[in-house]
């Protein structure tokens, strides 16, 4: 009660000042920002600073800035390069990885040791609260051989392991700090970090202010001394308006409709960066009509994904031909995909006996989801289904898809690594814990192929395996692939003046971050 009365007094003061100033007039310009800050706006929220705790997009972006991993990926070439691990050896049987750590320090100045690495990886692997232990699913144990050496033992040989060790949640945290402050407190506001930045201030739901970590192991990085503000703004309109007004330096997830316009703006560098994102439509295999193969095929053929890609993304996206993202390794570029053939679709639907069946299309409230849902609805209506769009927020979206209480849901996902292992496990594997991305698609043959792909080290053979997976799942219409979209990111050219081009390892140059429905925020977030 005390604090409340205090705040009221202050509020009253503010009101009085306001009155005085309003009377004087409102025509002055305020510099939009101080020059020592780089402001990046994204729709995604930071909800936790513990790299183990979340797989949500805003957090992934943040983890990249705060925590170093054993390996890092070269942003130019995409190749894996040494991170905290200066070098590593793989045992001949492919089951033991020995990482040799470089001399590096946490942001509090303490050295990063093997026990920190072991502690961090072990949490990710076995802590119950770990959001995404899958990448370390093959690991049997992580141990610190000496302060500079980490031994990782796998259950069996696992080709993509190194790639997985680079994934966003593999960030190394300080064991001593977590044990000292406790798990919650250590990450509540200012964690000890190992990455290029440390937290200056975190205002949940509003912005995260980062400042360079003076103990970061890559000397000369980050290249700017500027603090970085990750600002959360839900409405794409507002984000663009802020960029145009010069209030911010970079905008993620630029709406397609704005791309052309922004390209024409002198002060803005509008980039379309390749991504592993695939837009697709989930189908619920658990219930009619899409438990029926012919109905799924009909639904797939009814959709003109070339036209949709052109219409929705203004031609910036490629039509998708398989269930996997177009830029993952072993993507089968030659596969013809599902042909657009409404007549055949009608026929197939008639054969399936699902004509006039109601289809519940779940739609999150962002503009692309809405557009996609509407277009799908119209195309399915044309072949004789009875599609109904149901708008939900992300909470309800996950609830409904998780329970299988839907028939179709337009969405998108991306793969964290170029290796397709995690992608297939996520999207089409019925026995990998993801229920094939809540579609409940389950084909034992595919599951078998997924396991083979993991174990196989030979690239040519792996290519065959993943080709087969793509063929089977696309033919069976596990999902309806729509298009492969680049990441549309707009930068203020002011950044170049600061010699912080997007191509260097600046803070904003993380891999295009996850765009998942968790963060695909419904209109309520986007607008008033």
């Amino acid at each position: 009660m005390n604090s409340f009365s205090g705040s009221r007094t202050r509020a009253a003061g503010a009101v009085l000042h306001g009155a005085a100033l309003v009377a004087m007039g409102l025509c002055w310009a305020v510099p939009a920002f101080a020059d020592d800050a780089i402001r990046i706006v994204s729709p995604y929220q930071t909800t936790t600073l513990d790299p183990m705790r979340s797989a949500a997009a805003g957090n992934i972006e943040t983890y990249g800035q705060l925590y170093s991993r054993l390996l890092r990926r070269n942003s130019e070439t995409g190749a894996l390069e040494p991170g905290l691990a200066e070098k590593w050896e793989i045992s001949p049987d492919g089951k033991t990885y020995t990482f040799h750590l470089r001399d590096a320090n946490f942001s509090d100045g303490s050295p990063i040791t093997a026990s920190d690495v072991a502690f961090s990886l072990e949490r990710i692997r076995s802590d119950k609260k770990s959001a995404y232990p899958a990448p370390l699913g093959a690991v049997e144990s992580v141990t610190a051989a000496d302060p500079k050496t980490v031994l990782v033992t796998l259950k069996s040989a696992f080709a993509p392991f190194l790639g997985n060790a680079e994934i966003w949640n593999m960030g190394i945290v300080s064991k001593a700090d977590v044990e000292k402050r406790g798990e919650e407190a250590a990450f509540a506001s200012v964690p000890v970090t190992s990455g290029p930045y440390e937290v200056k201030q975190w205002k949940p739901n509003e912005r995260l202010i980062l400042e360079p970590n003076s103990h970061y192991w890559r000397k000369g990085y980050p290249k700017s001394d500027a603090t970085v503000e990750l600002i959360e703004v839900a409405s794409p309109e507002t984000r663009i308006a802020m960029l145009k007004a010069g209030e911010i330096d970079a905008v993620r997830a630029v709406p397609w409709a704005q791309v052309d316009e922004l390209k024409a703006v002198d002060t803005i560098d509008m980039r379309l960066e390749p991504s592993t994102t695939i837009y697709m439509t989930l189908l619920n295999h658990k219930r009619e009509p899409f438990s029926n193969l012919k109905a799924r095929q009909a639904a797939g053929m009814a959709i003109d994904n070339k036209a949709m890609a052109k219409a929705i993304t203004r031609g910036y996206a490629e039509p998708a031909n398989t269930t996997l993202p177009g830029s993952v390794d072993f993507h089968d570029k030659d596969y013809p995909g599902i042909a657009y053939d409404p007549a055949k679709a009608k026929e197939l639907l008639a054969e399936s006996g699902m004509v006039g069946h109601e289809v519940k299309i779940l739609a999150a409230a962002d503009a692309p989801s809405q557009q996609t849902a509407l277009l799908i609805q119209a195309q399915w209506q044309a072949i004789g289904l009875k599609p109904v769009i149901v708008n939900v927020d992300s909470g309800a979206w996950w609830d409904a898809t998780g329970k299988g209480d839907y028939d179709a849901a337009a969405n998108w996902w991306y793969n964290e690594t170029p290796d397709p292992d995690l992608a297939v496990r996520w999207a089409v594997c019925g026995s990998c814990g993801s229920n094939s991305y809540n579609t409940f698609y389950a084909n034992p043959k595919v599951d078998e192929l997924v396991e083979q792909g993991t174990k196989e080290a030979e690239p040519v053979k792996r290519a065959e395996i993943y080709k087969e997976i793509q063929k089977v799942t696309t033919e069976e219409v596990a999902q309806i692939p729509l298009y492969y979209a680049p990441n549309a990111v707009a930068y203020s050219k002011r950044l170049q003046g600061l010699k912080l081009t997007p191509r260097c390892n600046g803070p904003w140059k993380r891999r295009p971050s996850a765009s998942d429905p968790t963060q695909a925020r419904p209109r309520i977030g986007a607008c008033p």
Partner: protein, 283 residues
């Protein structure tokens, strides 16, 4: 006595149809005709998607342009009037009926009944409207029907308060005492003597409430909680158009203007009715 002080004696003689009322009736009548004849007037099917003709600006072919999936905005604005007019009526009636009943009982009988209702008033009033609607819609799912339900749960309070205040005065009036003295049943007194005299301001309020309902409908359609796609509704159209307002201002502008004009019709009607009501009381 041109410079004599203001001493308002009497309002100008009451006419049933004042100019503002006339304007109101013309607007409302216009929208009613539009709603009924939407299919005849509209040049396009409001739900027809034209994937190659998205976000095209107003032109001879599309007077109000097309929206993000190539639908004709003009046709959609016309068709949406059906939903919005209906929303105004259906959104007002349930809170009106419930609120009036509760206000009558609460005001007339007083005592425990009144106390219980007063506490519920307090609760509802202190409850942030949006949270309640969001939560209700969250529990029951989005859609117009659930939206109206949520609106009713909140909206009855205004009516109940209004009626209660009226009833508190009316129940002290001598004609109610006379009715009691004549041995009429409480139900008779309430329905034949209290209600007819309490209902005037309520009707006037209800008409202005229709504006608020429409705005709320638009706001919540805007928040994804009103009409479900592809059903054309002005709020939803504005909401969907917001993501494109930089290039395609027409998607937002026209539904907004339509909503304002319908709101104006109701507001003017309510204003006129309120004026009549006040004159009727003092006359």
């Amino acid at each position: 006595m041109a410079d004599s002080p203001i001493l308002v004696q009497t309002a100008p003689p009451a006419r049933i149809i004042t100019p503002t009322m006339l304007i109101a009736l013309v607007i409302l009548g216009g929208w009613l005709v539009t709603a009924l004849a939407a299919s005849a007037i509209a040049p396009y099917d409001p739900d027809a998607i034209d994937i190659m003709n998205m976000l095209s600006p107003p032109s001879a072919a599309h007077w109000f342009g097309t929206d993000q999936v190539g639908r004709d905005v003009f046709s959609r604005v016309l068709f949406a009037s059906r939903v919005d007019l209906l929303l105004c009526v259906v959104g007002v009636l349930p809170p009106l009926l419930i609120g009036t009943t509760i206000g009558l009982l609460s005001g007339y009988f007083g005592g425990v009944v009144d106390n219980v209702f007063m506490r519920i008033y307090d609760l509802t009033v202190a409850f942030p409207f949006f949270v309640l609607v969001l939560a209700i819609v969250g529990v029951l799912g989005p859609g117009l029907l659930n939206f109206i339900l949520a609106l009713t749960l909140v909206g009855w309070v205004s009516y109940a308060r209004l009626v209660r205040a009226q009833v508190l005065t009316i129940r002290e009036s001598e004609y109610i005492q006379a009715a009691k003295c004549l041995g009429y049943q409480p139900a008779t007194i309430l329905s034949h003597h209290v209600l007819p005299n309490a209902v005037g301001p309520v009707i006037a309020y209800a008409v202005s409430d229709a504006v608020l309902v429409m705005l709320a409908g638009a706001s919540f359609g805007f928040l994804g909680m009103g009409a479900q796609p592809p059903l054309a509704e002005w709020g939803v159209m504005i909401a969907d158009g917001q993501a494109f307002v930089q290039q395609a201002w027409w998607i937002c502008l026209f539904p907004g203007l339509a909503a304002i004009s319908l709101g104006l019709g109701f507001a003017l009607l309510g204003d006129g009715l309120g004026l009549l009501q006040r004159k009727g009381v003092t006359a």
